[in-house]
Symmetry: C2
Subunit: 318 residues, 2 copies
C-alpha cells in the first residue's frame, strides 16, 4: 500500500484537489466548480466522490488524510467562518462533515498558512524553523512559521498580515477598514498605485491606453521592463510599501527568510531588488543582513494543492 | 535539598539577583552596582560570589540554574551583544563565562522576553499558550509567546515590537531611525506627546509649570486624573498609538491576551479603557472581541527577578 495524502484548495470559483506523495509529487488531480454547490452538503458529497475517484485510479493507495486550504478557515475548529467569497454562509463545520463520510484526518486552514506549510515540507524552507510566506495576489495572504510550527494563534486565524494598518486613513480595504497592507502590497495594490501615479504624473505612459478594469500586475511589470516612467515609479512605490510590512514583521519574529509568492512576485528581480534594498535600509539595525528575501521554492501551478497536502504530511515525519 | 533557581536582572546601573522557588517566592535578594564592574570578568566573579552568598544563607539549596534578563541578550548564543547602556563592548559570552565558574544551566534573554516567561510561569498567563507582554518604560519592550513558547526567532533577538515603524519619518528613536512604536507608546513617549500638545494647545495646564526634564508619566497621569486638558489629550493620543501597535500585532499572532506592564501601565484604567476602545474599533473584524488587554499579574517590584528565574523553571515542569 502506497501512503498518499489528498490536498484540496477551495476557491470562490474553483476547487482543485490532488493526490500528493511524500516527495511532493502530484499523482492525480481534479477540479470542481465551487459555485455548482450552493449547499455545503452537496459540495462535501462531490468532494469525497472526487477523492475516491482519484484513489481508485491508482492501485493500492492508503489515504493518510485530507489537507484543505480555504478562505476564512479556522485551523483549531476545522471550520470555514463567514467567508465573503463563498456561497456557504455562517460557520461551516467542514472537517466534521468530511469525516462523517471518510474516516481520515482532516486539517483545514487558510491558503497562505497552507502555502507556508508547503514551503516547509516541499519548498525552499525545508531546513528553516522561522520564516514567513507572503502571497501577493488580489490580496496579501501570509503564513508565519515560528519554531518550526505554523502560527495559528488563540483564535486559529493568526497570520493576517495583509490587514495590518500601514497608512492610517489610507486606501479602502475589502475588510471594511482603511490603509491595510494588502491595499498597497499586492497585485491589485500595484494597479491602484498606477492609477494614483497616472493622476499625479504628466509623463506619457503605455498604461494610459489600458482601461483601468483591464490593468494587471503582469501588464504593469511588462511596461516597467520597457522603462515606462509611470510603471517604473509604481513598481518602486509598491516595493517600498511591501518592504515596510516586511521590516515591521522582522522585528516581531526574526525570520530566516521571507518568501514572496503569487501574481506580484512574478515581476521577479524588478520587485525583489528594491524590496531587499528598502528592507535593509529601514529594518532595526540589529536585524540587518539577517533575513533572505526569496521567491517561493514551490511551482505556482501546484502550490495550493501541495500546501494543503503538506498539512497532513507534516503530521507524518519520516 | 530544596530545588531553587537564581534570577538575575542586569540593568545599565543596577543588577538585581534573587533566589526563587517553584511557587514564585523570592527567598533572598541582593543588588550589585553594574557600573562598578567595567570589566566583564570582574562582574561575573562578583555575580557568582553573590549567588553563592545567597545560597549559603539557606540550609540545603539545590541550584537548578541561573536565568538572566539583560539588554541586547541573545537567547541562542547566551551572549550580550553591542548593548549601548552597558560598559562591556562587543559580544560578551555571558552564559559561558558564568558556567566556567558554576556548573549549572544558564539562560540569557532580554528583559521583556523574561517578563513574558514570568507572566506564563508565575503571573496572569499561566494557562495561556498565545499572548504578548509589552513593558512600557523608557522604551517599549515586548515578549511574545506563540504555542506556549517565547518567540526568539532565527537570530535570537525576536520580539522587538518597540522598533516597528508606526509613523514613517516620525519621532527620532534611540535606534537611529524615526517613527518607532516606542517613541510614542512608552512612558517617555507620553512625555514627548505632552510637549507636542503644549506646543499646539492654548489651554492652561499644570504641566506648563514643570521643566520638561522633570516631566514623568506619573506626573502626567496625576494631571490627567485632575482633568488637566493637556494631560487628558496626551493620554488619549498615547492610548491610540499604543492601541495601533496592539491591533497590528493581533493580526500577526492572534494572542489571547496582551499584558501591559511598567511605568506607563501604572496609569491604570485611564490608559486601559481607551486602549481597549481603540483596539476594538480598529482591529480586523475577525479578531474583534478575541483579545483581553490586561495589567500584568506579576508584582512590579519582583518582576525582573521572577521573569529571569522563570526561564529556568520553564525547563523543569512539575
Amino acid at each position: 500500500m502506497k501512503e498518499i495524502v489528498a490536498g484540496v484548495d477551495i476557491g470562490g470559483t474553483n476547487t482543485v484537489l490532488g493526490l500528493v506523495d511524500r516527495t511532493g509529487r502530484v499523482l492525480a488531480e481534479k477540479n470542481l466548480n465551487t459555485t455548482d454547490y450552493p449547499e455545503i452538503n452537496d459540495f462535501v458529497e462531490a468532494l469525497v466522490l472526487a477523492i475516491n475517484e482519484l484513489l481508485s485510479g491508482g492501485a493500492g493507495y492508503k489515504l493518510l488524510g485530507i489537507g484543505i486550504g480555504a478562505p476564512n478557515a479556522n485551523y483549531h475548529k476545522g471550520t470555514i467562518e463567514l467567508a465573503p467569497n463563498l456561497a456557504w454562509k455562517g460557520i461551516v463545520p467542514l472537517a466534521d462533515l468530511i469525516r462523517k463520510r471518510i474516516n481520515v484526518q482532516v486539517i483545514v486552514t487558510n491558503d497562505a498558512n497552507a502555502a507556508a506549510m508547503g514551503e516547509m515540507i516541499f519548498g525552499g524552507a525545508k531546513k528553516m524553523k522561522d520564516f514567513i510566506v507572503l502571497t501577493l495576489g488580489t490580496g496579501l495572504g501570509s503564513g508565519i512559521v515560528v519554531n518550526g510550527q505554523v502560527v495559528y494563534g488563540h483564535t486559529g486565524f493568526a497570520g493576517e498580515l495583509g490587514h495590518t494598518t500601514v497608512v492610517p486613513g489610507g486606501r479602502a480595504c475589502g475588510c471594511g477598514r482603511r490603509g491595510c497592507y494588502e491595499t498597497y502590497a499586492s497585485a491589485s495594490g500595484l494597479v491602484r498605485t498606477v492609477l494614483l501615479m497616472l493622476s499625479e504624473m504628466r509623463e506619457d505612459s503605455l498604461l494610459r491606453d489600458i482601461p483601468p478594469a483591464e490593468l494587471t500586475a503582469k501588464k504593469i511589470a511588462a511596461a516597467a521592463a520597457e522603462k515606462d516612467p509611470v510603471a517604473v515609479k509604481a513598481m518602486d512605490f509598491t516595493a517600498e510599501k511591501l518592504a515596510f510590512g516586511i521590516y515591521n514583521a522582522i522585528v516581531f519574529s526574526s525570520p530566516e527568510a521571507v518568501f514572496l509568492f503569487g501574481g506580484l512576485a512574478n515581476a521577479g528581480e524588478m520587485l525583489f531588488e528594491p524590496v531587499r534594498k528598502y528592507v535593509e535600509m529601514n529594518v532595526q539595525p540589529i536585524f540587518r543582513g539577517t533575513v533572505k528575501i526569496l521567491p517561493s521554492g514551490i511551482p505556482e501551478s501546484n502550490a495550493a494543492v501541495l500546501g494543503a497536502a503538506a498539512l497532513i504530511w507534516n503530521e507524518h515525519p519520516e
